[in-house]
Amino acid sequence: MFKKILATTALAVGLAGAAFADDKTKVGFVYVGPINDGGWTQGHDHGRQELEKHFGDKVETVFVENVPEGPDAERIMTQMALTGTDIIFATSFGFMDPTINVAAKFPDVKFEHATGYKQADNVSVYSARFYEGRAIQGTIAGRMTKSNIVGYIGSVPIPEVVRGINSAYIHAKKVNPDVEFKVIWIYEWMNPAKEADAAKALLEQGADVILQHTDSTAPLAAAKEAGAIGFGQASDMYDFAPNPRVSSIIDDWAPYYIERTQAVMDGTWSSTNTWGGIASGMVGIGEITDAVPADVKAEALAMKDAIVAGTYHPFTGPLNKQDGTPWLAEGEVADDGALAGMSFYVEGLTGEIPQ
């Protein structure tokens, strides 16, 4: 039965190849949200636009927005592949299994899945080390808070978000032993109204620094009203600078998209597992404004430089898990495997990860 499917698809691919054969490299993008969500999807779409700018006539890009994570994703990617797309970027975790399924049917098409962990001969995975940016945010937060309470708006409880909370906390604690984190999970990547309410609840409970792993500017607006500070997330959110937005973590996928498309053009593409950080440009640190005292700014930038130079890793021991069991010994650095599946808090954080 399976052979027959392959035969049918191969036939279809052959046809598609004939119909669409031209010298342009066709790049497809599958988005989970609308392209103007101001956050995650917009970041990827910005990367797509930069890709077009970079290659000009040599590429053609196509995209589908608002794709639910499930059967629709599989169909959309298949149809993209059937219409002669050379490389497809699936930009949400929930597209993982559909990507693997479609890739098995189209061995000649390259697939790139963001934030997942399943690879294949023609499926690469890529993600960003946002926790590096969180370390810098944590340092600024720890120094800047006067109430010693930092509010953190968590989105969906997955390892990436947990890593961010841990990284920010470790570095806030390092510069301010009295700091305390309050975390609210809203179980969505973006819901402006809920984010606003969450930020308000945190501010009311004494937080004067708000960190967010959600994509809208609503928490910054709430912080502004309360005279607290916050950070841009996914995009620079520079409209809120210099105050309350004192810095930001920017998702910059453009360099990666350009590099991978170039590899397809050159015929050098191979399946890789990329986890880019500040050094590779995938994670950008937005300008630290003058609302941050010069010495704190210098400290944060020094940490950024150390991370870029590879002389400092945000998860360096000694670190214990929340229940007090040892995790990393003195000087030991967390390996990527442990970070990828991180589902525990480090010692000192209160509350539990929803389960």
């Binding site: 039965m1 499917i5 609308p34 149809q79 409880p157």
Partner: protein, 361 residues
């Protein structure tokens, strides 16, 4: 001036003609919308309605996909139409769909990693039962307390969505999922998978069930006493009372059946195309099926065609998105317009439009 005269019987001709007319009118209106957005309207309409069916490049793939997308819509809409015909408003199929999927998936996951032939049938029963019980709640609230089923069933959708989030994070979470919420992939576990039965046709068990439901509903409505009771109740509840229809039993039957069918749709979806329960597993089939039921005039054959038509606009809409860069919102507006035009044209079925000179009434 124009005046309307109610027809003694709904016009059979218009009943068939209006959906066709509605599609044509929507194509024109949609074409105008696409033209206003700077796209070639003819190409856009062709991409949505023609290419998925006849494009030499990919129709071989998208035609079977039509079945995959339409199956849950048809299955749910058939169940809903029974109730709608009798004036029983179940608008909570989305919730019944979710609960069917959760119950069925829970059974399959309980057996994991055992491989046995009886697991999938058990899951099917579990899925139907989950949807049935979720549909029974508004039915009992209606028969015991006379609480409006339309509102109770809607509330139960939200409740089911919350349960879905909770089990994705908790009870049904995949312990080997690298910390991500969501269950194991049921489609990758042989005993719980709902694969394509005949290669290249897209037909999985859900598609078979959808066609079976169409036939069963057709027979029920045209040949069976219960079908007669449903029709009488919808046309005149009082007459139904005289005819000896037990309205309470009818309510339980209609809500229970539509719940069970929605639950089945959810089960077939979670074991096949979707694969796993996640925090956003549902994609609105339960609500879209309401549109399908009306588009198909609450008639089994009509529903089948309407389900396929709506599936076509979904698949064609995706094509239009990435081939013509039409925003997904414009496809949504287009589908809304289709439904509105059809509803607007309903008047032709039930009323005769005549020109009359203005006169004192």
């Amino acid at each position: 001036m124009i005046s309307l005269i109610k027809r003694p019987q709904p016009s059979k001709t218009w009943m068939v003609a209006t959906p066709v007319l509605a599609v044509i009118v929507t194509m024109i209106l949609g074409g105008l919308l696409f033209a206003a957005m700077g796209k070639d309207p003819f190409v856009a309409i062709r991409t949505i309605f023609w290419d998925p069916l006849f494009s030499p490049d990919f129709a071989a793939y998208s035609r079977p996909q039509l079945l995959v997308k339409a199956a849950p819509l048809i299955l749910i809409a058939i169940g809903l139409s029974l109730g709608f015909k009798a004036g029983i408003w179940n608008i909570g199929a989305e919730g019944q769909y979710i609960m069917g999927a959760i119950c069925g998936a829970a059974i399959g996951l309980a057996f994991y990693p055992m491989e046995a032939w009886f697991i999938f049938p058990l899951m099917v029963i579990g899925g139907a039962l989950g949807g049935f019980l979720w549909g029974l709640i508004p039915a009992l609230c209606k028969t015991k307390f006379n609480a409006p089923e339309i509102l109770v069933s809607l509330m139960l959708v939200y409740f089911a969505e919350q349960i879905m989030i909770a089990v994705s994070l908790g009870a049904l979470r995949n312990p080997e999922g690298n910390g991500f919420p969501g269950s194991r992939n049921l489609a990758q576990y042989a005993s719980s998978a709902n694969p394509e039965l005949i290669a290249g046709t897209g037909a999985h068990w859900g598609v078979m069930a959808a066609f079976a439901a169409v036939v069963a509903a057709y027979v029920l409505l045209s040949k069976h006493m219960l079908g007669f009771q449903i029709r009488v109740t919808g046309e005149s509840p009082r007459a139904a009372g005289f005819a000896g229809v037990n309205s309470k039993r009818l309510i339980i039957f209609c809500l229970g059946t539509s719940g069970a069918l929605a639950g089945l749709a959810g089960l077939f979806e979670v074991t096949g195309p979707a694969g796993q329960i996640t925090t956003s597993f549902n994609t609105g089939y339960g609500f879209t099926a309401i549109i399908v039921a009306f588009l198909g005039r609450l008639n089994p054959i009509g529903i089948m065609l309407a389900g396929l038509l709506l599936a076509l606009t979904f698949i064609g809409g995706e094509l239009a998105q990435f081939m013509l860069s039409l925003p997904s919102a414009s496809i949504q507006v287009f589908q809304g317009m289709l439904l509105m035009t059809l509803l607007a044209m309903d008047i032709l079925v039930n009323y005769k439009i005549v020109w009359r000179k203005k006169e004192a009434v």
